[in-house]
């Protein structure tokens, strides 16, 4: 299943040095333990700075979007095996 969406999620992060690494993602009633952060990329929307985290566990890929202005996390892409 490969889906693009825009759902609010709760994300627990770990700071290793200055790097932000998602550890747990709570989406609906389910919590996912993140195992790998495969790519982090940024983008600018006008004055806003957005960060995207491409993360995965054993069976799911998730792309998370962090709006640094509102500090809001969104799940914007899911790929499940």
């Amino acid at each position: 299943m490969h889906e693009f969406l825009n759902d609010p999620v709760d994300v627990a992060v770990d700071f290793s040095g200055l790097k932000v690494r998602p550890q747990k993602v709570r989406w609906g009633n389910q919590t996912y333990d993140i195992q790998k952060t495969n790519l982090v990329h940024g983008a600018r929307e006008g004055t806003k700075r957005i960060f995207y985290f491409s993360v995965s566990d054993n069976a799911n890929f998730m792309k998370l979007r962090l709006d640094t202005e509102t500090l809001e996390w969104r799940l914007v892409e899911v790929y499940a095996v």
């Binding site: 299943m1 693009f4 969406l5 825009n6 495969n38 983008a43 006008g46 491409s54 995965s56």
Partner: protein, 427 residues
């Protein structure tokens, strides 16, 4: 001391597809293709904005074109620019992924940052390719150049991820370094010192040379030229008779000669330009106008963002066979409005443009930049335009580009870059 330059060419392998595989480990080792622009293309960014839900695993994608195929897909016959329906017919299990320009441009800029940290000058050639002049950085010899190339490769692996592999070529000009990097994929590293140039070029097929397209190959074949060796022994006078000034290029290419100029765009703030390579050739004046307007608006808004207006405008076109034309015009009054840039660009191109030859690339460059004056133009209409532009620029600065669009381009849906656009979502 050598007086010759040392030029490095770097090219990501299956770029968009590799970045997708880097981001999503479940795509690794699989035949995937990144879908290009087209009526059905999915704009990842606009889904985010609208908050819609789109399942992409069983979309038909009948009319779209493939921008990049993964190495696994290529091994099964999937090619760049292939129609999606055709690719699906060849390989029904092919996974088609919507393009995500923000991801790709991040990797591109990481590559550029790495190159800039080492090289004397760096020129981005496309989304996944760049030339670097490493003459001084390498100490001027091929041992130094080889070590430097290896260091760049290690940095790319660390900064971009192990899946984003690149091929590197090093030689004494652009033509040879690109030919070298393309001779070994993926993850190649090919060094061609000048003394090997003749043997190396002779070992490569004609169509592998940058600037020798399929049409040129056909024309050469009709003259009995089927390889670099036969091209080399073909009289220059006959080449120039047949191909005009392009004949000299062909003659030089056959001898491994070419430009070694790497123009560092970062150190050249004297112009603002945008060009676009179309996924499929343009064949009508209406399409040319629409796309030129889009380019003109981008150029204009970037100029105004930095507080400039321009006194010189260049418009150019490149055809399918890489030949092309262009012209430059000088203005008394500096201009900074996209519509004005469009009208002038059209005037510049109209005497020479041959739409039915198939347009591969359009470009607009504004140069002779002067500080934009705050004073109001005398004509009422101009002052209205200036006010409107100022408000639109504020909107762009706050919310990003793509927030507004001219009514005349509404029938074309412009999507965030999938291939070709440079810098266009940096607003």
């Amino acid at each position: 001391m050598r007086s010759e330059k040392i030029i490095l060419h770097i090219d990501f392998n299956s770029f968009f597809a590799s970045v997708e595989q880097q981001a999503n480990p479940f795509l690794r080792g699989k035949a995937i293709a990144v879908a290009g622009k087209g009526k059905e293309a999915i704009d990842v960014h606009s889904i985010e904005k609208k908050g819609a839900r789109v399942r992409v695993d069983n979309l038909p994608y009948m009319r779209s074109v493939i921008t990049t195929a993964s190495r696994e897909a290529k091994a099964q016959g999937i090619k760049t620019a292939m129609a999606t329906w055709e690719a699906r017919r060849i390989l029904p299990s092919l996974l088609i992924i919507p393009g995500d320009p923000r991801k790709y441009s991040e990797i591109t800029s990481r590559m550029m940052t790495i190159l800039r940290s080492y090289a004397d000058a760096v020129e981005q050639f496309s989304a996944d390719e760049a030339f670097a002049d490493i003459t001084c950085a390498s100490g001027g010899d091929y041992l130094g150049a080889t070590l430097l190339g290896e260091r760049i490769r290690a940095d790319i692996k660390r900064e971009c991820g192990a899946y984003c592999t690149a091929s590197i070529g090093i030689s004494n000009n652009r033509l040879l370094s690109k030919l070298a990097s393309e001779s070994f994929k993926p993850n190649g590293f090919t060094v061609v010192p000048p003394e090997d140039a003749l043997a190396f070029t002779a070992s490569r097929p004609l169509q592998d040379f940058c600037g020798i397209g399929p049409r040129i190959v056909k024309r050469l074949e009709s003259l009995g030229v089927t390889s670099i060796e036969t091209l080399r022994s073909f009289p220059l006078s006959r080449l120039t008779h047949e191909f005009k000034s392009y004949g000299q290029f062909l003659f030089d290419a056959a001898h491994g000669r070419g430009s070694d100029l790497v123009s560092d765009d970062v150190r050249d703030p004297k112009s603002v330009g945008h060009s676009y390579t179309f996924p499929s050739n343009l064949l009508s004046h209406a399409e040319v106008r629409k796309n030129l307007l889009f380019l003109a608006d981008r150029v204009a808004s970037r100029m105004r963002k930095h507080g400039f207006a321009s006194t010189h405008l260049t418009a150019y076109v490149r055809y399918e066979d890489f030949s092309g034309t262009g012209a430059t015009k000088k203005f008394k009054e500096p201009i900074c409005d996209g519509l004005e840039i469009l009208e002038n660009a059209l005037k510049l191109l109209s005497p020479t443009i041959e739409v039915d030859r198939g347009i591969r690339l359009l470009g607009v460059t504004a140069s002779g930049l002067t500080k934009l004056q705050g004073s109001f133009p005398l004509l009422h209409k101009e002052s209205q335009t200036r006010k409107a532009l100022r408000s639109l620029d504020k909107i762009t600065a706050r919310y990003g580009s793509g927030t507004w669009q001219r009514a005349s381009t509404l029938s074309t849906e412009f999507k965030e870059r999938v291939s070709g656009w440079h810098y266009d979502h940096e607003a």
